[in-house]
């Protein structure tokens, strides 16, 4: 196990790095003990980066290249059980190949942190971003967060260990980073100092749940129907508890590092008094913010709500943010074939969230940017116009629209 404390950043410093490199630096700053890896694009960029840190002697950790993604996630699960801070990750069908290990990680309450470099699922083989890969853990007890910038990738990786390893939570954390836009683009990132990180992130202590000769325990038994519901309810309760932990961590993060949105769960951009609010996740934020800014300048009451935590889903905050809008246009970088409106996963989550409101906004869904296709300012304008038309006529002609798809 790693013994030498890395001192990569004595002082806070600007770096020109990709989102993946930002996560790699976070691994070093968090003094991760065990990293497992198996190459698949675009996640592999973080694997390459931590390899270099290790080769350069800048960051000491146990680096295990597994023979498959399944083993990769099994290994961090076990390492987490003995008290090691862990990091792993994958993309697309690689993530799916690890799925048995991924489900048990949450079931066993192992606070593994994983980066999902979002990638379209095969077939066809494609490297571009879609959100269906990471989305598959949404029901299993994993935290699920969508990052929009390289800076946020670094910041949220640090938050991830803090939240996941909280003794009242102990649930794994998937950090979703859009393939290409985040994993392969280099931006100026403010890297915090080691001292700042040490103040924010306490060591991982598993306490009486730690697998150790001095604490003889068995984990992962076989059970029957007399036991399972109570176990599920415990995980459910842990997922409910994590919201308060996230809030607390977020407050301290803002205090120590001096940056961060008002809310850890959502980002509201020009939502106040907005009649039309666009909703999306990840790097979609970039063109959407630009479009919204221009529409505002033209006098249109338009806003953008970015969902950051998909799990836990901050239903009350989202209700608050969207409740006064006349129309909500949800942009899904994913699909759910055969779903109620033939639309995306995020759309149905939002419609369900807004259902209890007395006054419900009109809801439209746009499937866009699949496989890494660019979502343009014109696309966003089209969505806004469609929503405006629904407001003007009081009815929705088509619930789900595929954007910029060749007919």
């Amino acid at each position: 196990m790693a013994t030498v404390k890395p001192r990569l950043y004595e002082e806070s410093k600007e770096e020109l790095i990709s989102g993946s490199e930002a996560v790699g630096i976070a691994c070093a700053l968090a003094d991760v003990d065990v990293i497992t890896a198996y190459p698949i694009r675009p996640y592999d960029t973080v694997m390459q980066y931590v390899s270099r840190l290790k080769a350069d002697g800048a960051f000491d950790f146990d680096f295990i290249i597994a023979e498959s993604e399944h083993s990769q996630f099994e290994i961090v699960k076990h390492a987490s059980a003995v008290g090691a801070r862990t990091f792993s990750g994958s993309s697309g069908v690689g993530w799916f190949y690890a799925f048995e290990a991924i489900t048990v990680t949450a079931g066993l309450r192992m606070p593994v942190v994983a980066m999902v470099g979002n990638r379209a699922l095969d077939d066809p083989g494609a490297f571009g971003v879609e959100h269906n890969d990471a989305m598959a853990v949404r029901d299993l007890g994993w935290h699920l967060y969508w990052v929009a910038t390289a800076q946020e990738a670094l910041d949220m990786a640090l938050m991830a260990w803090r939240i996941a390893e909280d003794p009242t939570v102990l649930l794994p954390f998937a950090l979703s980073c859009d393939g290409s836009f985040l994993t392969h683009s280099q931006a100026i990132v403010q890297v915090p100092s080691q001292d700042q990180v040490d103040r924010f992130l306490p060591p991982y202590k598993r306490g009486t749940l730690q697998l150790h000769p001095d604490n003889p325990i068995t984990i992962a038994p076989q059970v029957n129907e007399d036991w399972l519901m109570e176990i599920r309810r415990q995980t459910d309760e842990a997922m409910r508890r994590t919201s308060a932990v996230i809030r607390q961590a977020h407050e301290e993060f803002r205090e120590i590092f001096g940056r961060g949105d008002p809310s850890p769960f959502i980002e509201e951009f020009m939502c106040e008094d907005a009649e039309i609010i666009l909703v999306g996740m990840g790097t979609l934020a970039m063109p959407t913010r630009v479009a919204v800014r221009r529409l505002r300048a033209a006098g249109k009451k338009v806003g953008f709500l970015r969902i950051k935590f998909f799990r836990p889903f901050a239903a009350e905050e989202v209700q608050e943010a969207l409740g006064d809008a006349k129309a909500v246009a949800v942009i899904d970088r994913d699909y759910s074939y055969g779903s109620p409106s033939g639309g995306g996963v995020l759309f149905h989550e939002l419609r369900s969230t807004l259902y209890p409101l007395d006054k419900r906004p009109l809801m439209l869904n746009f499937i866009a940017g699949l496989g890494g296709r660019e979502v343009t300012v014109d696309d966003i304008n089209m969505m806004t116009e469609t929503a405006q038309k629904a407001i003007d006529t009081g009815k929705i002609e088509q619930e789900t629209t595929w954007v910029s798809v060749r007919e």
């Binding site: 020109l16 490297f127 392969h184 683009s185 100026i188 800014r293 343009t376």
Partner: protein, 383 residues
């Protein structure tokens, strides 16, 4: 609004580090000028394929807000400067994620600059570079193409010369002062700083008028929509071949009408039809069914199908019967067999000159490098 963009066009894998050095250095230097920037590769080139044209970008803005505005478009549709680090790509670019041939200057904005590393003259390059309807500038960095083999970065200061030339062509993007300071800080290498300065001092550009250049219409095709595309991810096999060019005798294989990849090659085979022993090896080993069999049993390479891999040269048992020759020697994809049948003496004379010249060329097949760095740096300083 002051946002400026640079694209670096390079040969995948072979010149990746070179391109990355250039775009990163631009962003570092811009930071010295108090600006903010981002550097990224075109993701659809990724994973890069050996030698296939690829792009990296640097985008620089005065403020973070302006940078975000410009990044609403992921791949710049207009750049202030295009830097091409292999002159054979002046013929156009085809990415591996195939969508036709793009002129090298396609996104160079009106009044912008195309910088090319080349030993060719501007006039020679403009025979390849497609015409534009707007004026722009062409700047040549006189140097041998920077290649050292797979993944190997040839530290011959091509990156530094490109940066110096870029500061000259577009001082609004990065000042030479900031660039020199930044290169010193990032590399700690005086010789590199000197290379930037020298390229800046010597940088000249030639205006290119609207309509000047290659008049060829770049190959393009319509991509099918979801209603017309066959379901089930099926790709049909190519149709069976025919007699030579559809006639009697010989053989022309079925080829895709839309999938071509000639811009991938930096060299092409030149064939001596008189010494060919008709052994079939080139035809058999070619991975791209490039060779047509002529009615008289010779092998004619189709230059719309050839990616320039050089297997034919490697397997040919006859000395100098197939020779890979640098692309700058050619301005079209016409048939060598036709040229030979039309005028055998003329063809053989042309071919002999090319083959002899090739022996003294530093560009070798497979993007290898011949000669020492020191000699090349000295030579380019004298140029």
């Amino acid at each position: 609004m002051a946002t400026r963009a640079v694209e670096v066009v390079y040969r995948g894998i072979f010149q990746r580090t070179l391109a990355r050095n250039i775009v990163r250095q631009i962003v570092f230097a811009a930071r010295k000028d108090g600006k903010i920037g981002t550097a990224f590769g075109r993701y659809s080139d990724s994973p890069e394929r050996n030698g296939i044209p690829a792009k990296q970008f640097a985008v620089v803005a005065d403020t973070a807000l302006e940078l975000e505005e410009s990044l609403a478009v992921y791949e710049a549709t207009m750049v202030d400067v295009t830097i091409n680090v292999d002159d054979t790509m002046c013929k156009g670019l085809e990415s591996w994620a195939w969508y036709g041939l793009q002129p090298i200057n396609e996104v160079t904005k009106p009044g912008g600059t195309l910088i090319v590393t080349s030993r060719q003259s501007a006039d020679a390059l403009l025979e390849d570079i497609h015409q534009k309807k707007d004026p722009y500038n062409l700047s040549i960095i006189p140097s041998t193409v920077s290649f050292s083999g797979l993944w190997v970065f040839k530290d011959d200061h091509t990156d530094m010369r490109a940066l110096g030339a870029m500061c000259k062509a577009c001082p609004e993007l990065v000042s030479i002062k900031a660039m020199l300071e930044s290169v010193q800080e990032q590399t700690g290498n005086e010789a590199k700083v000197a290379s930037v300065q020298r390229a800046f001092d010597r940088g000249t550009s030639r205006p290119v008028e609207p309509g000047e250049g290659n008049t060829e219409t770049p190959f393009s095709f319509d991509m099918p929509g979801w209603k017309t595309m066959e379901e089930g991810l099926v790709i049909r096999a190519q149709k069976e071949g025919t007699g030579f060019r559809g006639g009697e005798g010989g053989y022309t294989p079925g080829r895709s009408e839309t999938f071509k990849k000639w811009s991938t090659r930096s060299m092409r085979p030149v064939i001596n039809f008189d010494t060919c022993i008709k052994c079939t090896l080139c035809w058999l080993q070619c991975p791209d069914t490039v060779f047509d069999i002529t009615p008289d049993g010779l092998y004619d390479a189709n230059m719309e199908a050839c990616c320039g891999c050089g297997v034919c040269e490697a397997v040919c048992p006859v000395p100098d019967c197939i020779t890979m020759v640098g692309e700058p020697e050619f301005n079209d994809n016409s048939s060598q067999y036709d040229a030979w049948t039309a005028d055998k003496d003329g063809y053989n004379k042309w071919m002999t000159v090319l083959v002899e010249k090739q022996k003294s060329e530093t560009r070798t097949h497979g993007f290898h490098h011949v000669g020492g760095y020191a000699e090349e740096i000295a030579a380019s300083e004298e140029a």
